[in-house]
């Protein structure tokens, strides 16, 4: 197991380095500078600004400087939010995004696994068809269509829930964003669970358990659940990435002051350090999460361990 952990770790680190290098190169190659504004700056001032942010140095020196700072947890100053460092912006935006994403993930797992299992146990029944059709709709309707529709129905029409922002921080404000963010994942997880459980229920060891006269409940809990959840566990990696991406547009629609909103603003404003900071931060998060998922998978399923 230790060898397995070390090997996974050795493959995660270069991925991270390449991610940082690629993000760095792409951002620096992009035309248009952070100081392009409505007003043309006098060349002397622009030169001073460039010197102050070390933009006049050769690229490799800038990269070295950036890596050294990163190692200390310093993402540099934001170019647009002059009084904040990127680290501060991440620190203020991420808890909100984490709450949103974490709740969405939890909701997706709970509902997805339950719905998928029920559908698998009643294969080809009305419930099964209902769940699968709903799941198909959930996969097909994009986040950014569901979100305005939810607002239209529950906030504008019925006036049950607030349409956006965080307000006083009450959980009511999170209901609609979390649902909008979780919906596609609920659908995916339900489909995965159903497919995997049908396969598991057909396998010989379940037949043996049945032949031994175990109750269906016992079979489900003791024998069928773990192998059923394996594909779901391995889907947690891509699901995290999808939730992170989805949160960008969901935060935009609901006016949630999370990291995703900073990212879009940063991309539109060419805020080099902020965009890179967010990408490196989220990239690291996804890579670390994938690493953990790999470990859990290896722990659950000895076959993948060398």
């Amino acid at each position: 197991m230790l060898k397995f952990v070390v090997r996974r770790l050795l493959s995660a680190i270069p991925t991270l380095l390449i991610l940082i290098a690629l993000a760095f190169c792409l951002i620096r190659l992009a035309p248009g500078g952070p100081f392009d504004g409505e007003k043309q700056l006098p060349p002397e001032i622009e030169a001073n600004l460039r010197a102050a942010y070390h933009l006049d140095e050769p690229l490799y020196r800038q990269f070295g400087r950036y890596m050294a700072n990163l190692a200390r947890g310093d993402f540099g100053p934001s170019f647009q939010y002059r009084d904040f460092s990127v680290t501060e912006l991440i620190r203020s935006g991420f808890p909100v995004s984490l709450k949103l994403g974490g709740l969405a993930m939890l909701l997706a797992l709970l509902i997805g696994v339950t719905a998928g299992s029920v559908a698998a146990l009643r294969q080809n029944s009305l419930i099964d068809h209902g769940v699968m059709t709903t799941a198909m709709i959930g996969i097909s309707i994009p986040n950014f269509v569901v979100a305005p529709l939810l607002i239209l129905v529950f906030a504008v029409g019925l006036r049950w829930l607030p349409a956006g922002g965080l307000g006083d921080g009450s959980p009511r404000h999170l209901v609609l964003p979390v649902i909008a963010l979780a919906l596609p994942q609920v659908a995916y997880i339900a489909r995965l669970t159903r497919g995997s459980m049908i396969e598991v229920l057909r396998s010989p060891f379940i037949r043996t358990a049945r032949a031994q006269g175990l109750s269906m409940r016992r079979i489900m809990v003791l024998h069928a659940l773990k192998p059923t959840l394996l594909p779901v566990v391995s889907y947690l990696g891509p699901a995290t990435a999808a939730v992170v991406t989805g949160s960008v547009v969901i935060e935009q629609i609901f006016g949630v002051p999370g990291l995703g909103r900073y990212f879009v603003q940063g991309a539109l404003n060419r805020d080099y350090t902020l965009v890179m900071g967010v990408v490196v931060f989220y990239g690291t998060l996804i890579i670390v999460f994938n690493f953990l998922v790999d470990l859990i998978y290896g722990w659950l399923d000895p076959r993948v361990r060398p």
Binding site: L26, I27, A30, M136, V145, P148, V244
Partner: protein, 294 residues
């Protein structure tokens, strides 16, 4: 040598697939809807009598009506929403198909070479795919859009250039299992060059899997384009796409809900149908996978 064996198995596979697919009523319905939708989107704007960016000063932000001449209503600038929705559909479908073709060419070439070469080459090539996989996908597309400017050609390339990873992985897996089959070995023994073996023998045998993934990639690409347009990073005025229209609609939904509902409906139905056709094809072409999720 293997020429006689190859078309026979290929044809029967496709015929089987067609038989299974025809029995799948959902998939056939979805296919019919897609064909009708495509024809309407391409043809109807010519006959509607409205142009995409003409303002009807007497009918600004009017709700849909059959008699008023604006079937889907108009937007805040008095532009006919029916025509705009169909034009948006042209862009969305075009992006979906062209970007998928780009990703197809890259993915199949990359995957076939990697799988057929095997060993070190394969390891390095797949490691690169793994690394690219770990990158936050939307970020890269957004970055490319900012970098290259927002032209439609670059949307094709940017999305296609990033969306080929799945295709490469799947094709590589297939190629890996194909390369030790007798007919490939026979070709190799006959002195056929590796490039030619890949082109003539490996790739044709991948087509079944590739067709499934084409139908599953097109909706993904349409989704990415809509996502970009929604954030204001996609196609630019006066051109439009379903994502851009949904964005405009979302901002006006309290006063003019039709602006949100019609483009959202078109986008959703299209995605829905592509997914159904893709699922049906997977059942038809790959019986092992039947019942399993994507």
């Amino acid at each position: 040598m293997n020429a006689p064996a190859h078309p026979t198995t290929g044809r029967s596979l496709w015929r089987d697939a067609w038989t299974v697919l025809r029995r799948n009523r959902a998939a056939v319905t979805a296919l019919v809807i897609l064909v009708v939708l495509t024809v309407v989107v391409v043809v109807a704007p010519w006959f509607s009598g409205h142009s995409i960016d003409a303002t009807d000063w007497d009918h600004i932000s009017v709700p849909p009506s059959w008699t008023g001449g604006h079937w889907f209503g108009t937007d805040g600038l008095g532009r006919d929403l029916f025509v705009r929705t169909l034009h948006g559909g042209r862009v969305s479908l075009l992006v979906g198909i062209v970007a998928t073709l780009v990703s197809l060419v890259i993915g199949v070439t990359y995957g076939a070479i990697s799988g057929y070469a095997g060993g070190r080459v394969d390891q390095v090539m797949m490691r690169i795919v793994d690394i690219l996989y770990a990158l936050p996908f939307m970020f890269l597309v957004i970055l490319l859009m900012v970098f290259f400017g927002r032209s439609i050609v670059l949307i094709f390339v940017a999305i296609g250039a990033i969306n080929w990873l799945d295709m490469a992985r799947i094709v590589r897996g297939q190629a890996l299992s194909l390369k030790n089959r007798e007919f490939i070995e026979a070709a190799r023994a006959g002195g056929v060059s590796p490039a030619r073996i890949i082109r003539r023998h490996v790739v044709p045998n991948l087509l079944g899997v590739v067709v499934i993934y084409i139908t599953l990639t097109i909706p993904q690409v349409i989704l990415v384009e809509s996502f970009l347009s929604f954030l204001g990073l996609g196609v630019q005025e006066p051109m439009t796409s379903w994502g851009a229209l949904v964005n405009e609609g979302a901002q006006e939904m309290e006063n003019a809900p039709w602006m949100l509902i019609f483009p959202a409906l078109f986008l959703t139905i299209t995605l829905f149908c592509f997914n159904f056709v893709g699922d049906g094809l997977r059942d038809a072409l790959d019986p092992r996978d039947r019942g399993a999720a994507s």
